[in-house]
Amino acid sequence: MATELLMPKLGLTMTEGTIDEWKKKVGEPVAKGEIIYSVATDKLTNDVEADVDGILLAIAVPEGETVPCKTVVGWVGAAGEAVPSAAAAPAETKAATESSPAAAVQTDAAAGKTARPVGQYVPATPYAKKLAREKGIDLAAIPATGYRGVVVSRDVEGFVPAAATAAGAAAVKASPLAEKVAADLGIDLADVKAAHGRVLAEDLLRYIAATREKADGETADAREEVKAMSGMRKAIAKNMQNSHMTSPTVTFNLGIDMTEMKHYREQLKAKEIKVSYTDLLVKFVAKALTEFPLLNCSVQNNKIIYKHYVNMGVAVALDNGLVVPNIVDADKKSLTEISAEVKEMARLAREGKLPPEKLSGGTFTITNLGMYGIESFSPIINQPEVAILGVNTMEDKVVVRNGEICIRPIMNLSLTADHRVVDGSVAAQFLQRVKSLMENPALILA
């Protein structure tokens, strides 16, 4: 019995390997411990030693071919011993370059009968490949009758797929990734249509998408209900996912002592100027942003676009979603102007009448969950901005001031920043500056 030579699995993450070099030729003797072939992965090249004595009977995977781990790449055995598959054909015929047509037909007949090992290169003419591709036939399934055991066009044209039932779930050719994903999701690869001979991950994704589409509006469980996403939900889903995949983020939390700010707000109120904490934050954060241009930029094709203006986005929660209109030139507007604009935007947003231009062009976003008692969260950046400030609840807390225990209104700010451009120290200094401004409101005039 000939011994199989396998594509080794060199490490946990290796799924496929390339035969780098056959150190032995077919027919050459091989001694145990001798290097018989070398295997290349994306990381390294390893020599594979023979673990038996014998003769290299056949090579199933030629140099340069990539196959999944554990694929049979060749056989070692006694001279004259039969190889368990027609895989020997290409190697054999290599020796006999100018075989007579009659001889060729013989080898081909043999080749045609046996299925080739999965992942083995199928010698075929370019025209046969083209036809097979057009007809969606896997070359490996086609018996060869051509010269030197090659699959030629007539083999493809005359090919009748064996009844799928005959071999049961006949070995479907698939990439290692597709095999893994299919196994994880419990998908039968035979159901998946391959665009190019073997099933690739993209074929699988297409299959999954198609099945999902089909399943739209139906669910097996009567206690579940399937509803299509609204346009806004789709947009939010897309934007959030895109942001999450685009920006590597870090979130920084800092407590602000709101004593002075509360006092400041009351002073304004006494003068009939009613502003919300959000309005105040827009004003104070806008000022800080003018001092920290890296928090007010965007990233495009390895370039940083600095914006010498602050368009402050303010997240507005709606019954069915969320919009972020922005206050254009917030750094140049008075508090009362900001306040009026925030109110107007919120009203328009709830009525669904926000002009589209108000929804784009923002440079920074504030999102406030304080009214729900939230103490800290990590908001997702509104692309293409590079940072977003989450505002939390204001709560009386016991703190120590000048060595004495006292009670102060503390509000946490949660800053999420894109680490591609905003390093930790920059984010921290920015947050510190916001804190300093808010704890000393008079600085807004400085």
């Binding site: 007579s100 047509p101 060729a104 003419t125 370019p126 490949k129 051509g146 010269y147």
Partner: protein
């Protein structure tokens, strides 16, 4: 239809062109007094006195003088005696004749025909038997033609003489004596340089050749037909610029390509055809491209060895059957 030899056909072409254009003249070694070593100029000197000129044995002068005459407004036809001798005047050919029009920014033209008898002639040995066309298809600025039968010989030569660019006209020494149908002058169809001809339609394999190689192509096609294999035979006629479209269209139909020429196979004139088909029509090939040509060795003098040097129709038949 009347039948004449290849040699007579070229002579007819010369006479007709000399009649038509007073600026056409011929020069070369032994052409006026002797009528050309293969008789291809016989009678011309009497018919056109002073326009068939014997030269000293100096290829350098023959081509150099031809280029000068062409620049001066003549339409010279210069004869190389043997294609093997072009090496002597190589600078005149590839640096002057081929480049003048370009170097003068199109203000000059070189309506010159360089006639070059080539091929195995039986005992011609290594210096008088070669087929050197592949050297010249590598040179931009020269058109290279190599007809395979008397009618083409006449029409291609006429087209070459009327062409305003230099044309290298390879005429096979064995073909000179071959006869073929040539229509009367009024029934002639002019040849357009650069066009190949599908000489025989088929569906199983395309055999491309030119010049004497066409004899192998035709004989192989006949032989294959006996076994029900239908070969399409394409005569390239012009080697540079060659008719890519005709060849590729044929390959798209037959899905197999067999190339045959008498020149050395390595770097042979048809290697370019093989490469181009692989480049532009690989997906239509259902078999490896077959190439037949001479072995990579000087041409032997000994008749027994010269025999071994040749390509035979059986070679093509065997090869084609092997890839069907």
């Amino acid at each position: 239809m009347r039948k004449i030899t290849f040699s007579e056909a070229t002579r007819e072409a010369m006479a007709e062109e000399m009649e038509k254009y007073p600026e056409v003249f011929v020069m070369g070694e032994d052409i006026a007094r002797q009528g050309g070593i293969f008789g291809q100029f016989k009678g011309l000197p009497a018919e056109f006195p002073g326009r068939v000129i014997d030269t000293p044995i100096s290829e350098t002068f023959i081509v150099g003088g031809g280029v000068g005459a062409a620049l001066g407004g003549a339409r010279p036809v210069v004869d190389m005696h043997f294609a093997d001798f072009i090496g002597v005047c190589m600078d005149e050919v590839f640096n002057q004749m081929a480049k003048a029009r370009y170097m003068f920014g199109g203000q000059a033209k070189i309506p010159l025909v360089l006639r070059a008898p080539d091929g195995l002639a039986g005992g011609g040995a290594a210096q008088h038997s070669q087929s050197v066309e592949s050297w010249f298809i590598h040179i931009p600025g020269i058109k290279v033609v190599a007809p395979s039968n008397p009618y083409d010989a006449k029409m291609v030569l006429k087209a070459a003489i009327e062409c305003d660019d230099p044309v290298l006209y390879f005429e096979n020494k064995v073909l000179y004596k071959e006869t073929g149908e040539v229509p009367e002058k009024e029934d002639e169809v002019p040849y357009v340089i650069g066009k190949a001809r599908v000489e025989r339609e088929g569906k199983d394999v395309t055999i491309v050749s030119y010049s004497i190689g066409m004899k192998n192509a035709r004989a192989a096609a006949d032989e294959l037909a006996k076994d029900g294999i239908s070969a399409e035979v394409v005569d390239l006629i012009t080697l540079s610029p060659w008719d890519k479209e005709t060849v590729i269209n044929s390959v798209k139909k037959t899905h197999r390509l067999c190339l045959v020429s008498e020149c050395v196979k390595q770097g042979g004139a048809l290697a370019e055809v093989a490469a181009t088909v692989a480049e532009e029509a690989l997906e239509y090939l259902d078999a490896p491209i077959l190439r037949y040509g001479a072995p990579f060795t000087p041409i032997p003098f000994a008749p027994t060895l010269e025999k071994l040097y040749r390509v035979y129709p059986e070679d093509l038949v065997k090869g084609i059957k092997g890839v069907l």
